[in-house]
Amino acid sequence: MKPTSEAELAGIIAESKTSFEIIGGGTRCIGHTKGDPLHTSGLNGISLYEPEALTLVAKAGTPLAEINALLAKNGQRLPFEPYDLCALHGHSGTSTIGGVVATNASGPRRISAGACRDSLIGVRFIDGLGRTLKNGGRVMKNVTGYDLVKLMAGSHGTLGVLTEVSFKLLPASEATATVHVKEHESTASATMAKAMASPFDVSGAAHANGATALRLEGLEGAVKYRSQSLAKLLNGDIAAFDWVAQRDITAFAGLEGDVWRISVKPSDGPTAAAALRKHGAQEVIFDWAGGLLWVLSPQGTDLRPALTAGHATLIRGTGIAFHPEPAPIAALSAALRQKFDPRAILNPNRMG
């Protein structure tokens, strides 16, 4: 099914006797669910764009590429740098903004500009009873009532079907520079911490293959000054770096094996990486100053037992996608889901 209006979608859900698998562009679904395919790509279009207010509102099925192109034309961008995993998954498809929100997809700039949930300022969605609901709005400061906006971000379609999303935007950078430091993985987190502790406003901190990369963005003169200062501080070099490849983890595209996304305390990055390697991990790419590890491992290897803290999500592979949560948190989450979708018809079991 592919409704073309919010009202039509609400009707479909209200009257449904079966469950649904909700699909935006089908490019970032993880986990396993069963149900009739329910496509949101028919809910398409930018509802409002006010560059002078740094605000964008779009229907959930709007292609991400369309939004990025419009913003770029106006010298602005989505602050959180959403990743595109098509290459990693080896499939094609049109990523939608609703899918970005449902998976809280956030790239390298997460460390300075926040995650998708931090830029998301409003949602409209249909709950499991077919009710049309809204929360937040189109203004960037809003504490009116409970913040269901953040709850919807990253809920993978299990609390409702998003129909419209609103964002706070940022100006695009006039200039970008990257400072490179050649070093072993074991010292990478310390270098990245030192960079983050500097006043130079680092907007990307990654490590792979014996090199740590630190990104600086902003006005021309500022980036020049800050990159030179940071290179001096860390004894590094200024050179080009492909932040899109870092964001999309294209290094793992075409390689056999499972891909994990592991969230840890940033300073734990190197020890976690070492433990994961002992457990079979073949490649580890650091992001978020060591707080995010992208890991390639042999198919079917569960890496979770190697982690003493943090959590792991299986992005590519057939195992259990979501990390089990402590009992009290899991109980609250299950109870919330019961309120939003009492019949459990929206992406049932997707998050476990």
């Binding site: 926040g114 009710r131 709005g137 960037m140 504490v143 913040d147 709850l151 300073s267 609250l332 998050m351």
Partner: protein
């Protein structure tokens, strides 16, 4: 403003309830002397007062859990309180409630510069969080005006903002984790030193829930490296429209100042009389602050002033020294106090789309004439968070009611132009009944269903946030 009728049963059981609390907590942590509980009868929305049944001041998470469990078992409502600086009545007691104050929970538990966080007990004041890390070159970004007094617990409950959130975000964007006690007395940890959650974003849900889902006793907060420097520029205009257009053009040009503050003539005059900051007598004044190294500051200020000059400012003053910067901020920071010198005032907090600024200011002026009450406007222009201050005379019968009616109309106007009722103060009791103007019955129901999950008996801070008619069935 109405509050529900207190439970006669609970009032009659006061002695028994206090005795039970004294069993659960050290003697000094329970206050029931009517003379002493009077100190807790209101918060910064002091027009409304009601002494609570008793006050508990736990000194640990364990004591907090014991107090909540005891109240839960006895069916007694609990009103959590940080420092009592809420402008929305978020900590206003009811006669049949126990105030749970977190003031004794004020320790720093862990400072971790490698991972850029600090873990504090929730009663610690906002400014003292920065105080604990500034000697090492760090700061905690959210900076509500009450930061000298307000507690992190209240900041989390209300998702507080401040003048600098245009760049750094509000509390929810700087909160990494909490230790929270539920009404049933269960202690849970949500979030932590890592940057995202494994499942649902419960942390995002807790922040801004006005103390209705649990009592936060510890918070892990993101701290940031201090910028090399900061400098404000002051720009005066002959009309609000032109000032608004200047703000739009600056944002459109790709510069992102850390703060853009706006004051209109009544506030400029009051602030100038009060602080002698040297403000010009103009219709609208902007204070725009940028950060970075000397060269970066110059680069940004050049862009900003060249845009401002296209709008023919009456005055344009770039700070050249620390003293000048302090002077430029002095009047703005004292604006509320300065207005308070003139009269009693009610401070509103609606947010509007920045593009609707001139239209909204015209609407407020019209309402001011209609009601015969003066209004001053001071607000965070970069993000559209307005703070209209309505002047009234608390000693004049009927004036408070008139002021409340006018405030309600201003907030409805904010919603009509595409904004919201509250940008950073919270709903509390003050804007509770206005929630119908922003949300449908279903929108409110799903929010209340969240409270059903965390606090099925509706004992935590009841009669706040949701209109009384909407929550009636759940509260009984």
């Amino acid at each position: 403003m109405q509050m529900p009728t207190p439970s006669i049963d609970i009032l009659a059981r006061k002695a028994e309830i206090v005795a039970r609390l004294r069993q659960a907590l050290p003697a000094s942590a329970v206050i029931d002397d009517p003379f002493e509980t009077k100190a807790y009868e209101c918060d910064a929305l002091s027009a409304y007062r009601c002494p609570p049944l008793a006050v508990v001041l736990p000194a640990s998470t364990e004591e907090t859990a014991a107090a909540l469990k005891a109240c839960h078992d006895m069916g007694v409502p609990v009103v959590p309180r940080g420092s009592g600086t809420s402008l929305a009545g978020g900590a206003l007691p009811t006669e049949d409630s126990v105030i749970l104050g977190v003031a004794r929970l004020n320790q720093v538990l862990e400072t971790d510069y490698d991972n850029r966080f600090i873990t504090v007990q929730s009663g610690r004041t906002n400014l003292s969080v920065t105080g604990a890390v500034e000697q090492d070159g760090y700061f905690y970004a959210p900076d509500p005006s009450s930061q000298l007094a307000c507690a992190i617990a209240g900041n989390i409950a209300m998702n507080s903002g401040g003048a600098h959130c245009l760049k750094y975000g509000v509390t929810t964007n700087n909160l990494l984790g909490v230790k929270m006690v539920t009404m049933e007395g269960e202690t849970i940890d949500i979030g932590g030193a890592h940057l995202d959650s494994a499942g649902y974003d419960l942390l995002g849900l807790i922040c801004g829930s006005e103390g209705q889902l649990g009592v936060v006793t510890e918070a892990t907060l993101r701290i940031l490296a201090k910028p090399e420097g900061a400098r404000p520029v002051l720009i005066g205009f002959e009309s609000n429209e032109v000032a608004g257009a200047c703000v739009s053009d600056i944002i459109r040009a790709g510069v992102l100042p850390v703060a853009i503050e706006f004051m209109d003539r009544p506030v400029i005059r009051a602030a100038e009389n009060f602080t002698h900051a040297g403000y010009p007598d103009v219709e609208a004044l902007l204070i725009i602050e940028v950060e970075g190294s000397k060269a970066e500051i110059t680069e940004q200020l050049e862009k900003i002033t060249s845009i401002a000059k296209q709008h023919n400012p009456v005055e344009l003053r770039e700070s050249q020294s620390t003293e000048e910067s302090a002077n430029i901020w002095k009047g703005r920071k004292a604006a509320f106090g300065a207005m308070g010198q003139i009269n009693d005032y009610m401070c509103l907090d609606g947010t509007i789309p920045v593009s609707k600024l001139p239209e909204t200011l015209r609407g407020i002026t019209a309402l001011s004439k209609q009601y015969g009450l003066d209004v001053g406007n001071v607000f965070h222009a970069g993000d559209g968070n307005m703070h209209p201050l309505i002047l009234y005379d608390a000693n004049k019968p009927g004036d408070l009611e008139l002021c409340e009616a006018m405030g309600a109309d201003i907030l409805k106007l904010c919603v009509e132009v595409g904004g919201c009722l509250t940008g950073e103060h919270g709903v509390g009791v003050e804007k509770r009944e206005l929630m119908h103007s922003q949300f449908s019955a279903d929108d409110l129901d799903i929010q209340m269903a969240v409270k059903d999950v965390f606090d099925p008996k509706w004992l935590l801070n009841p009669a706040k946030v949701f209109p009384l008619d909407a929550s009636a069935g759940r509260r009984q």
